[in-house]
């Protein structure tokens, strides 16, 4: 039993009274605790509050312990379906994130040139009045569509969903769509008629074979996935890992396939070939729930393992053997949909190929395969109809459903991201809204509100983003930390962290749909405010009063909770979680189809893609190879960091303060580079980043290098992270647009190693 369990079940146990301590018979001395040696949980009464973690987008339910008005410890909420009482390293670092002295503390307005980072503190009134005036000017001059709103992290709803739709701009975008999940979601919509959603619906309980393609469990430390993986693996489940790198999870693999980067679709087609030619597929399932099998079989007839071996740098035997391992365990055998799947620009087709393998294995809607997730029932606080439909997508609440319709703003303008022209469908492509800020094509984006997002450490082609930031008429940055792009803002609004605020109810599409609450553990620090407060204050200033009809956030939350017969008080009394029933399996649909495609079946052959001029069954397309002397730049995660957000967090920074670049040991030796040497990386366009230490290792192929993302930060206000290591974003001056989903494929950049400046 952990301390947090005790806190919840016996809340009076740790009261401050001397009597309690006397009853316990001691005042134990922790090795290194507070100055007088008393551990934090003996310094006063522990107050526990419920929350939802914001240290990564996975959003585990948490219990926050505070003593004497200070947050001291965060633990997983045992009642939460995601955390189940446990928490990853980053979640543990939340107290340190909140107490980072580098935080933005007061509203500020620019006093020098954009990008210089010269600001003066202003009052909230001044800041909000200024923004409201500017917003109304833009609307008057060019229509509401001329405002773009970008958002990421858990308060994004308030600006990127609610405010944007009330205001009337279709140009609201989230990096979690086109810089991360869009290909995965669009491939799922096209193939299955449903999105994957924020929580990949692998039915771990009963799963017998897991295949990962570029998924890095253990480095990407999504708590629940690590738990489920460990249980499945611990029960003897087979694991196949396809990765150019011997990743943390590859160390657990029964089969590691060190594939040549960019050739995954060839492998997938060969696996389909083996499943078809050896008749290893689930014939009944294919007959009952799919369409286009004959055309698929004909399509993959010549995609033999020998053909794929020559492309992927794997052996024919490996390909055949792994296909058989998968098939022997069907339907409790799945290729897990990855996260961050924007790699090479043809990503929707690659994801479709993975779903076709899963379909032939009969995995969808089967126990131990892939379940169908379901969003919880919860009514929104009443508001008038939105001025424009939402299409920002993202990985937040609910499956990231996107409509086929392109939303039109009140002045009749559609999204400025080129949807329908440069790409087919899906959520707004954030990176495609940058050009219109510079060129005015198809129309000019004049103002930008950036909530979180870390613009200059997430969007490829940094020089272009800087140019856009300089060209805009209004830039508002809402953030917890002085991230690099904040220096380009006209107005900076400091946000309270997730430990200091209420927020929207976290309604999670899941096997068991559930609702989690976030309440403040402590009052907002400094002059910071929550996003809901900022959005409302701005809304009231620009005539959107009707969309913010509540007086207090408690009233707003209670009203929404009433729709499920609950209230804030009742939720608190029930461990902060409401769990509903799901419909995870085929049998839960009483013969009706859960697949909302035009055919009501899994579309192995996609008429929708054929009609739009795309390959109706995925083809392998090669991606350019690194020029001589260059390596393909791969990037990923370190287990204690999230994106470029946590590198400055003291406790996490201490653990891993800078990144290193993995280079194959032989390749390094042949370049005369030694392990630990500091080098710079220079990409195909001459962009440089570094210095960064070399990790000369056997754990990676010799045609690619790898580095954890989020380092090499330029923001001087991030005193711990500034200048540490190299930035992959700096080196991603190019990207390949996925013509189907609008995703930005970033693994097409190449770097060479430079040993002298």
């Amino acid at each position: 039993m952990s301390l947090v369990d005790l806190e919840i079940s016996r809340r009076t146990f740790f009261t401050a009274g001397a009597a309690t301590m006397a009853a316990a018979g001691l005042l134990p001395r922790a090795a290194h605790a507070a100055t007088d040696g008393t551990p934090w949980y003996r310094q006063g009464a522990i107050e526990t509050t419920f929350g939802v973690c914001d240290m990564c987008p996975w959003r585990c339910g948490i219990v926050v312990s505070s003593v004497n008005g200070e947050v001291r410890k965060i633990d997983g909420n045992p009642a939460d379906p995601k955390s189940r009482g446990m928490l990853c390293a980053r979640g543990q670092g939340g107290v340190s994130f909140m107490n980072d002295p580098d935080r933005l503390q007061a509203p500020m307005m620019r006093s020098g040139k954009r990008g210089e980072g010269s600001f003066e503190e202003v009052s909230w009134e001044q800041a909000l009045d200024f923004i409201a005036d500017k917003l109304l000017e833009i609307k008057e001059r060019s229509g509401p569509e001329a405002l773009a709103i970008f958002g990421h992290t858990s308060g994004e709803y308030w600006f990127t969903d609610h405010f944007s739709q009330a205001w009337g701009t279709p140009n609201a975008a989230k990096p979690s769509s086109s810089l991360c999940l869009s290909p995965r979601e669009e491939a799922a919509q096209l193939t299955l008629g449903m999105g994957v959603g924020g929580h990949e619906p692998v039915d771990w309980d009963g799963l017998r074979c897991l295949t990962l393609i570029g998924s890095h469990i253990g480095e990407d430390t999504r708590n629940t996935v690590m738990q489920d993986f460990a249980d499945m693996w611990g029960d003897g489940g087979k694991v196949i890992v396809v990765d150019p790198r011997f990743s943390s999870v590859a160390t657990k693999a029964d089969h590691w396939l060190p594939i040549k980067p960019g050739t995954d679709t060839a492998l997938l087609l060969a696996w389909l070939n083996v499943l078809v030619t050896e008749e290893l597929y689930d014939a009944d399932y294919v007959r009952g729930w799919t369409t286009g099998f004959d055309r698929l079989a004909a399509h993959v007839a010549d995609k033999s393992p020998a053909w794929a071996a020559s492309i992927t740098d794997l052996s024919e035997g490996q390909i055949i053997e792994t296909a058989r391992v998968m098939a022997e365990r069907k339907p409790q055998s799945v290729i897990m949909p990855g996260r961050h799947v924007t790699w090479y620009g043809n990503d929707t087709q690659r994801l479709r190929a993975t779903y076709l393998v899963n379909a032939l294995l009969g995995a969808y809607g089967r126990r131990g395969g892939m379940y169908f997730n379901k969003a919880p029932y919860l009514e929104e606080y009443p508001h008038p109809p939105y001025a424009v439909a939402g299409s920002a997508g993202g990985c937040s609440a609910g499956a990231a459903e996107t409509s086929d319709e392109l939303p039109l703003g009140p002045s009749g303008k559609a999204r400025a991201d080129g949807a329908r022209e440069t790409f087919l469908r899906g959520a707004t492509a954030l990176q495609e809204l940058i050009d219109p800020m510079i060129t005015g094509d198809p129309y000019r984006i004049e103002g930008l509100i950036v909530y979180g997002t870390n613009l200059l450490n997430s969007v490829p082609n940094k020089p272009r983003t800087r140019e856009a930031l300089a060209a805009l008429d209004l830039v508002v940055a809402i953030d917890v930390l002085p991230q690099e792009h904040v220096a380009w803002a006209d107005v900076v609004l400091p946000e309270s962290t997730y430990l200091e605020r209420y927020d929207t109810l976290w309604s999670v599409s899941h096997k068991t749909p559930y609702i989690a609450m976030r309440e403040p553990a402590v009052a907002p620090m400094y002059q910071t405010r929550p996003a809901w407060w900022m959005a409302r204050e701005l809304g009231l200033r620009v005539g959107l009063d009707a969309y913010f009809g509540w007086e207090t956030i408690e009233e707003y939350l209670d009203r929404e909770l009433r729709s499920v017969g609950s209230s804030l008080d009742e939720m608190r009394a029930n461990d902060g979680i409401i769990i509903q029933n799901g419909k995870p399996y085929l049998e839960d649909y009483d013969g009706a189809s859960p697949f909302h495609t035009p055919s009501e079946k899994i579309e192995l052959f996609s008429q929708q893609l054929a009609d739009a001029g795309f390959d109706p069954i995925p083809e392998y397309e090669s991606t350019p190879e690194p020029p001589r002397g260059f390596y393909r730049l791969l990037y990923g995660r370190h287990p204690v960091h999230t994106f470029a957000k946590t590198q400055n967090t003291p406790a996490l920074n201490e653990r891993y303060p800078t990144n290193e670049v993995w280079i194959n040991a032989q390749a390094a030796a042949s370049e005369g580079i030694r392990d630990g040497q500091e080098v710079w990386l220079e990409n195909q366009d001459g962009a440089r980043s570094g210095p960064i230490a070399v990790k000369a290792t056997e754990r990676i192929r010799s045609d690619a290098v790898f580095m954890p993302h989020g380092f090499g930060q330029n923001a001087p206000g991030l005193t711990r992270a500034h200048g540490k290591g190299a930035s992959d974003t700096e080196l991603q001056t190019d990207y390949a647009l996925d013509p189907i989903s609008g995703g930005a494929g970033m693994r097409i950049n190449f770097v060479k190693i430079v040993t002298e400046v």
Binding site: L3, F14, R29, C88, M226, Q227, T251, P258
Partner: protein
Amino acid sequence: MAQAFVLDLGRCIGCEACALACKTGNELPTGVSYIELIEQVRGSFPDLEGGFDNHRCLHCQDAACVAVCPTGALYKEDGLTRLNTPACSGCEYCVTSCPYDVPRMVDGASTKCDGCKATTDAGGGPWCVSTCPSKALEYGERSEMLRTARTRAEALRAHYPNAQVYGETQAGGLGVILVLPDDPEVLGLPRDPDPPTVANVWQGVVQPVSIGLIGATAVAAGVAGVIARRNHMAELRDIEEAEQLVGDGDSSEEA
């Protein structure tokens, strides 16, 4: 009752949640860490194997660090090796005597895992155990943990045919029973760590370092005395009394 941890290195995926839970639960200051995750990958591309070493105090029953500690800052309790930091004199004997290279000197004092004494005394579990997403850690009565470790090693053989339990007997039995995916030598662990007898500790570490401090005989006496009488640093300075205790020869509280 002797307590123990199980640490299943087959299951550990190197996520570092334990290290941060320890850090934050114990509010360890900057520079202090009780758990270190160390990559252990062997072989040449593409024939690789390995995982992570979760480097931490293994809580030896016959703890060399306790045997050499002249002040009683290190002592055995409930089968675990506790550390009363304010009592540490900074002599570093524990650092040089540890067969597993665990204690570190920070600000002149020894630092290492103390088995979450304060937390477990308060009725909670050790922080690392309660947060581990891979469920690679358990904590409880040592005999029960030994059984658990054997069951885990058996399960691990589905992936690692040579999986085995380590720590049943080493150093008098470890308070962190390891479940290893392979032979200890392969993972850089001594199959049989040098027995930390008072004699070789004295000859190898205490004698050379201590001469000129308070006298070799006195320290030798102190070593044995502390083994029997943990945590009595004031009395340790009473050389006469300490000398009397040399004869007790009880080298383990928790044997």
